[in-house]
């Protein structure tokens, strides 16, 4: 680590320690309010309002603690149950939602120990640097105070100026130790907070379920849209052409005796129509599952893809063999989309695709030397990749500073999750 980095991180941690103390103290009135609200909830009407109100305050405070912990490098997920439908503050539904959520009570249990830990660790974070600073600044301090002796560090008391100068290295040492340990103290505080404020194993599972519900809904939606598109394409494309083909041949059949020249013209037309129908079907098949993917697997299909994009593209792969069909397909379309983005928007001159397998997941990296500045919230393409990968618990990360280069890294868990991703009928 760069020396400036640890000083910056340390100073930031010291500041957040300074902030932690008043925040921790704030826990105590919140605890008092909570106890009062609990007592008041016996009173009909008032209790319905008091407890939810106080809980909202407590949650805001807890959220702040979670955010600060996240900044200290200890992410804490919000454990709360989603609010029920048609719940209004003051209503029974809302009250029940608050009271039955274990996270409400865990927040409450955190308030006092959290305050103690917050003040103690915050004070410790501050004390070391302040004591160190005192040592560094002792000489001018001493002179301005005009006292005869002073106590500092290992040399205690200090009586001569020579001894006084010894406090300088001691102070510097203590100051640097204080700054160096400050981030660890903050992280320790954050870990302590996570014991109470993080989701329990149960809540973790519940969050996972709601996450899966969202990705499943996305997948189902995407699949339904895809089927609709295929149906429409078949209906408006190949099907119409085949009907017209039949008609043309029928007409030619009638004309073949009386007007052989006309019949021949019609037959030529029929041939054109059949070619067009085939082209339609080919195009459609490519959109559903590219033949080269079926024939050559991901490796060959990505190589074919690289040949088809308008800029020179290199492909490097290290894959152990064929992957499961659904994973292969998701990976292919994700790479195709990322490459299309690279060639469409970035004015890149060259692009690279790298594929490798880490044992548990497939990693795909698509990079280009274009303008950079790609933004997933701006491009529907990148969002589409995220959704496509999310169906397999895959992830996408994007690095695209203005001026480039853009690097899209996609990961698809496959070895472990592949049996689950095999489409099954009936139970879906």
């Amino acid at each position: 680590m760069d020396s400036r980095d640890w000083i910056r991180d340390g100073l930031r941690a010291v500041l957040s320690g300074l902030l932690a103390i008043p925040l921790a103290v704030l826990n105590l009135p919140l605890f008092g309010l909570s106890v009062a609200a609990l007592v008041l909830s016996i009173v009909p009407g008032l209790g319905m309002l008091a407890l939810p109100g106080v809980t909202l305050l407590v949650r805001a405070r807890a959220d702040l603690a979670r955010r600060l912990a996240g900044r200290a490098g200890v992410p804490i997920r919000r454990p709360y149950l989603p609010p029920p439908e048609r719940a209004i503050v003051g209503g029974w539904r809302y009250y029940k939602w608050i009271v039955t959520d274990p996270a409400t009570w865990r927040d409450l249990a955190w308030l006092v120990p959290g305050a103690v830990a917050g003040v103690a660790l915050g004070a410790l974070t501050l004390a070391l640097p302040v004591y160190g600073l005192e040592g560094v600044l002792l000489i001018p301090l001493w002179i301005s105070l005009g006292t005869d002796w002073y106590g500092y560090g290992a040399i205690w008391p200090i009586e001569t100026v020579g001894e006084g100068f010894l406090s300088l290295p001691q102070g510097a040492l203590i100051l640097s130790v204080g700054i160096a340990v400050a981030p660890y103290l903050r992280r320790f505080d954050a870990h302590f907070g996570r014991l109470f404020l993080g989701p329990t194993r149960n809540a973790e599972l519940r969050l996972r379920v709601s996450e899966l519900t969202v990705t499943r809904a996305d997948t189902v939606d995407a699949q339904a849209a895809e089927l609709r598109r295929i149906e429409r394409d078949l209906h408006d494309g190949a099907q119409v052409r085949l009907v017209s083909l039949g008609m043309t041949i029928g007409l030619a059949e009638e004309m073949v005796e009386g007007d052989p020249a006309g019949a021949r013209k019609l037959l030529a037309e029929a041939r054109e129509t059949s070619s067009a129908a085939l082209a339609d079907l080919r195009h459609l098949v490519r959109g559903i599952h590219p033949p080269v993917l079926a024939e050559r697997g991901l490796d060959g299909a990505v190589r074919a893809l690289a040949l088809a994009v308008p800029i020179p593209t290199t492909v490097e792969t290290a894959l152990p063999g064929r992957l499961d069909t659904p994973v292969e397909s998701a990976a292919y379309f994700a790479v195709a989309e990322a490459l299309a983005n690279a060639t469409r928007h970035s004015f890149a001159r060259t692009a690279q695709v790298e594929l490798w397998h880490t044992g548990s997941s497939l990693v795909m990296r698509v990079s280009d030397d274009g303008l950079g500045g790609a933004d997933p919230s701006g491009g529907s393409g990148l969002r589409g990749i995220e959704r496509r990968l999310a169906a397999f618990d895959g992830t996408m990360s994007l690095s695209s500073p203005p001026g480039g280069p853009t690097v899209v890294t996609m990961e698809l868990p496959c070895a472990s999750s592949s049996p689950k991703t095999t489409p099954s009928s009936g139970t879906g």
């Binding site: 041939r271 070619s275 490519r286 033949p291 080269v292 024939e295 050559r296 190589r303 994009v309």
Partner: protein, 212 residues
């Protein structure tokens, strides 16, 4: 002309046999799966092999692999590959032995009987016949080593890739045959393809085109 046919759909196999026979070809053998292809080709040594890319038992690219393997065993054996779709990647693999006598066409080109038979003859006599669709896909690309070529030279190269002779290119582009050979010489110079007895310069130019 003696032809070996590899096609798994009985309907298409019969149709192709009929079509080839009607145009004076003799279908000496017709196979319906990948593993039988290579031994049959080695046994019969046909003047041209017409092969479907996707064959049983794997239904992947067994036909293509069989054709490439056959050309390793019998160098320069003319092979015309038919497929339901075209892939520049496959075209490149077919041409990678740098010899002529290679064709790669979409299956539906068969319906243009005269053009199809023409392509079979061209391949049999050592020429190339790339599907216009492959050529089109490559032309759609923006930047490449081909950027040194003029538009007209690219057009000529595209026609060469489809396998046309100088005379045919002249007719197609409404220019004189002399102009065509001038363009072709320019292409060879710009793509740095010196005269050589071992390599077919037209194939090399097309390969450069495919690799671009």
């Amino acid at each position: 002309m003696r032809v070996v046919l590899a096609e798994d759909h009985a309907l298409l196999r019969d149709g192709l046999t009929r079509l080839l026979t009607a145009h004076g070809c003799e279908v000496v053998a017709a196979v319906d799966n990948g593993p039988a292809l290579l031994p049959t080709l080695i046994e019969h040594r046909p003047e041209v092999a017409v092969v479907d890319v996707r064959l049983p038992p794997t239904f992947t690219d067994e036909g293509l692999q069989g054709a490439i393997a056959a050309r390793e065993q019998i160098p320069g054996m003319p092979v015309l590959v038919l497929s339901q779709h075209v892939e520049p990647l496959y075209a490149r693999e077919l041409l990678s032995d740098r010899a002529g006598g290679v064709g790669y066409l979409l299956k539906d080109r068969v319906s243009h009987v005269a053009q199809f038979i023409d392509a079979v003859r061209r391949v049999a006599s050592g020429g190339t016949a790339m599907d216009p669709e492959v050529v089109y896909q490559l032309l759609a690309r923006r930047q490449s080593p081909l950027s040194a070529l003029t538009t007209r030279e690219r057009e000529v190269l595209g026609q060469m890739a489809e396998g046309r002779s100088n005379g045919a290119i002249a007719g197609k582009l409404f220019i004189g045959e002399k102009a065509v050979s001038k363009h072709i010489n320019n292409i060879f110079t710009k793509l740095d393809l010196p005269v050589s007895d071992d390599d077919n310069r037209r194939v090399l130019a097309v390969l450069t085109y495919l690799n671009a």
